[in-house]
């Protein structure tokens, strides 16, 4: 569990040299990075359908690395926009849902769990910007699932994000109450 703005600041510190290389050296924009990350994520989905879960996780590593670049490039080079943010958030969610269902279709997890985990990762995104809180347990849990079971990984994703949503609503309410109490 973490504070979003603090995490972004730390992440930007790590990603800054890579973002500089990607943007200044290769001319990559944040939107291009988001799309490229989505393509890599789709590669992971294809690999799961091909029965190559190990390769899928390798794709996932690169997906997450590239996905980490878009926000840093946007913040460092003043590309921040609502559209870009929505594109990044939407593509990430679609990619996660594709991964969960790929695991369900190939028998690594139950459909019910895939549906619930998908719902939870969408739900947490509706509140995390106002609450500033996100458990951060989404695709990354799949690596844990590789060594245990993907069914368990999806259950963790469901629980963490559904709880994150509930906590997020309370945090938002607390902030709001604090604000109106000042009046």
């Amino acid at each position: 569990m973490y504070n979003l703005s603090e995490l972004r600041r730390k992440k930007d510190n790590v990603m800054r040299p890579f973002a500089a290389w990607a943007h200044e050296g290769l001319g990559i924009t944040p939107k291009q990075a988001s799309l490229f990350s989505f393509c890599l994520g789709t590669g992971a989905v294809v690999a799961i359908f091909g029965g190559q879960v190990g390769i899928a996780l390798l794709f996932l590593v690169f997906t997450m690395l590239v996905d980490g670049l878009d926000g840093t490039i946007a913040r460092e080079y003043a590309f921040q926009s609502k559209n870009g943010k929505w594109l990044d958030m939407g593509l990430d969610a679609v990619n996660e849902i594709m991964l969960f269902f790929a695991l369900a279709f190939t028998g690594y997890a139950e459909f019910k769990t895939a549906v619930l985990a998908s719902f939870a990762v969408v739900l947490i995104r509706t509140i995390r910007d106002t609450s500033g809180f996100d458990p951060g347990l989404k695709r990354v849990v799949l690596f844990f699932g590789y060594f245990t079971s993907f069914e368990l990984a999806l259950q963790i994703i469901f629980f963490a994000n559904i709880a994150g949503f509930a906590i997020g609503t309370v945090i938002t309410d607390y902030k709001y109450q604090k604000n109106i109490d000042k009046t």
Binding site: K112, L116, F119, A166, D173, D181
Partner: protein
Amino acid sequence: MSILPHILITTAGVHALGLEGNDVLLAYIFGVAQDLDHLIKVPLYGRKFRNKEYAISEGRPHIVKKVESKEHTYEVLGLGIKRYYTWRTPLQEPIALLWVIPLSFYVGSAIPVVFFLLHLFLDYLADYPKFPLFPFSFHSTTGPLTGSRIGLKEMAINLVSLCIIFLN
């Protein structure tokens, strides 16, 4: 709604449905325990109203002040009781169905949803302001059936619940 009607109606529900084991636990978690969320607001409440000082300075035992805010009116009472302070959090508003329903699916039981709705029903009988869709909407409502006195409603609920408990 105070805690007693919640406890009694949940107990009545448990008896009426013949629940056992984990189902009883779920019933009390979603029927009663969510009221613990009021504790979250205690620090804010203490900061907002310095109860004793205010009551003493006003020297009146009943309503001593109305605090109008954009959202609703607080009635500041003597002895430090502040009616209509928003003690509720979204954990016990209809918006919570977004996580209670999936959780019910996960556990494969309707108990969380049923007892959560029962809790909501009682709360919406009371006349304090509620924010059913917060944080996605600031729409505020007092809910239906807020015309008659809350004490009377609580008494009726308690009686009906006790009847159900003893008849089962």
